[in-house]
């Protein structure tokens, strides 16, 4: 079977092949779900965000600029949708969020679970802008340039935001019992 790259699939989809978009969903759903999960924490919300991301991508496919990578564009939508979900969630504060670390804890020992929970707690205490760069860099493994394209910011700003996010994150992990923070920092 021929393996098509993203650009081919996007082209086919624009020509009316809806099944080509299904392949894009299959290919990127895991990365998008995990990005959303680390941004919003709750797995149901992350699934909803992922769904919105792909629906919006499909509906706006004609606006996609092929000079950029498809996944960068998808990630940009995912970051924005995650921010929207966090905003909405604020209005329904008090709904139970699932314990992400506990959900994936089946085959792990307690120490690993505690460490992952500590990291996720720390992420939720960062501002959403700082959280986004940390997640894109360390959990998605993207370069400064790719993160810059996704967040529509110069590489220099990405570096500066990433370095200060690490510093904040390091300080947060030292402390205990700090409240979540879904505010945005000034760019």
């Amino acid at each position: 079977m021929i393996e098509h790259n993203d650009e081919d699939l996007v082209r086919q989809c624009r020509a009316g092949e809806i099944k080509s978009f299904d392949l894009l969903v299959e290919r990127h759903q895991r990365a998008i779900f995990n990005l959303a999960l680390r941004m919003v924490r709750d797995s149901d919300d992350a699934a909803d965000v992922s769904q919105s991301v792909f629906v919006k991508a499909y509906e706006n496919l004609e606006r996609f600029d092929p000079q950029y990578k498809f996944f960068s564009w998808l990630y940009r939508i995912a970051v924005n949708e995650s921010l929207n979900a966090l905003e909405q969630k604020k209005r329904f504060e008090g709904l139970d969020g699932k314990d992400l670390a506990a959900e994936t804890a089946d085959e792990k020992d307690d120490e690993t679970v505690r460490e992952e929970r500590r990291i996720q707690d720390g992420l939720m205490m960062l501002s959403v802008d700082q959280r986004a760069v940390i997640v894109l860099k360390h959990i998605q493994g993207l370069s400064y340039r790719e993160i810059g394209q996704i967040l529509d910011l110069p590489e220099k700003t990405i570096k500066s935001r990433l370095f200060s996010a690490r510093q904040t994150f390091k300080d947060i992990l030292r402390k205990k019992g700090v409240r979540r923070n879904d505010r945005r920092t000034a760019s």
Partner: protein, 248 residues
């Protein structure tokens, strides 16, 4: 070297972004400066801890949910003609067809206007498949037309068939979700819960029906009994659409 420059060098080293000369410079500083060494170790450990966070598998039905949602919203592929292209295509059609189209369009518009004037408040017009006992295998889309409010009701089952998610989609952008899990009756986006002695009735979010006036619709579960769920879509202007689904 200032503290800021050192901090940047350390961070870029963790990201593998240093040139050989910058790396030599950093190594030299680290050899001489204990606090710089400490910061380097801490930032490196942070990077390692973050990078070791494992990826979680998305829900097994996520791709199907996405597929169903896309097909329910957009029945046609994304590329569309601009209005200019449409106008140009229309002008280029043979004149008989062109005048015919204008004439027919005028007739239809006139007829619709006449019908509207004669029946300003039409009776609730409910259509859709209200058959009972439809077996839900994976995901199904039920189009509905409740008193002129059109939309789709999408039911998605998980792989195990234990959880059902219903999505009410109206117009192009508004969706609400209601999830029924028989094992722990989990409901989301619920605004109102009523119990009237009989079967529990749960109303989900109110959805604005874009493109159909100011109609609103509600999605509700009613008659959750045995393995049969009745889902009801009700328009505020009157009219309901019921769908009974057999779950196994």
């Amino acid at each position: 070297m200032t503290g800021e420059q050192l901090r940047e060098l350390i961070n870029r080293d963790v990201d593998g972004d240093l040139s050989p000369s910058e790396l030599r410079e950093l190594t030299d500083v680290l050899r001489r400066n204990a606090s710089a060494r400490k910061l380097h170790v801490e930032i490196k450990a942070l990077g390692t801890a973050l990078s070791s966070v494992r990826h979680v598998e998305p829900p097994a039905n996520l791709a199907n949910r996405i597929r169903a949602d896309i097909r329910s919203r957009v029945g046609t592929p994304p590329p569309r003609r601009t209005w200019l292209e449409s106008l140009r295509a229309f002008v280029q059609t043979p004149s008989v067809l062109r005048y015919g189209t204008v004439f027919t369009g005028g007739l239809v518009t006139g007829a619709l206007l006449l019908m509207f004037l004669l029946h300003p408040q039409p009776a609730a017009n409910v259509s859709g498949d209200a058959a009972t006992g439809a077996l839900l295998t994976h995901s199904e889309i039920f189009p509905f037309d409740v008193n002129g409010a059109k939309g789709t009701l999408t039911a998605v089952a998980t792989e195990t068939g234990k959880e059902l998610t219903f999505r009410l989609t109206a117009g192009t952008s508004t969706t609400t979700r209601l999830t029924y899990d028989p094992s722990r009756v989990k409901l989301e986006n619920v605004r109102e819960v009523q119990s009237a002695g009989g079967p529990v009735v749960v109303s989900a979010g109110v959805v604005e029906m874009t493109g159909t006036g100011s109609q609103k619709c509600t999605l509700a579960f009613s008659g959750v009994r045995d393995s049969r769920i009745t889902v009801q879509v009700a328009a505020t202007g009157g009219g309901t659409f019921n769908k009974e689904i057999q779950v196994h």
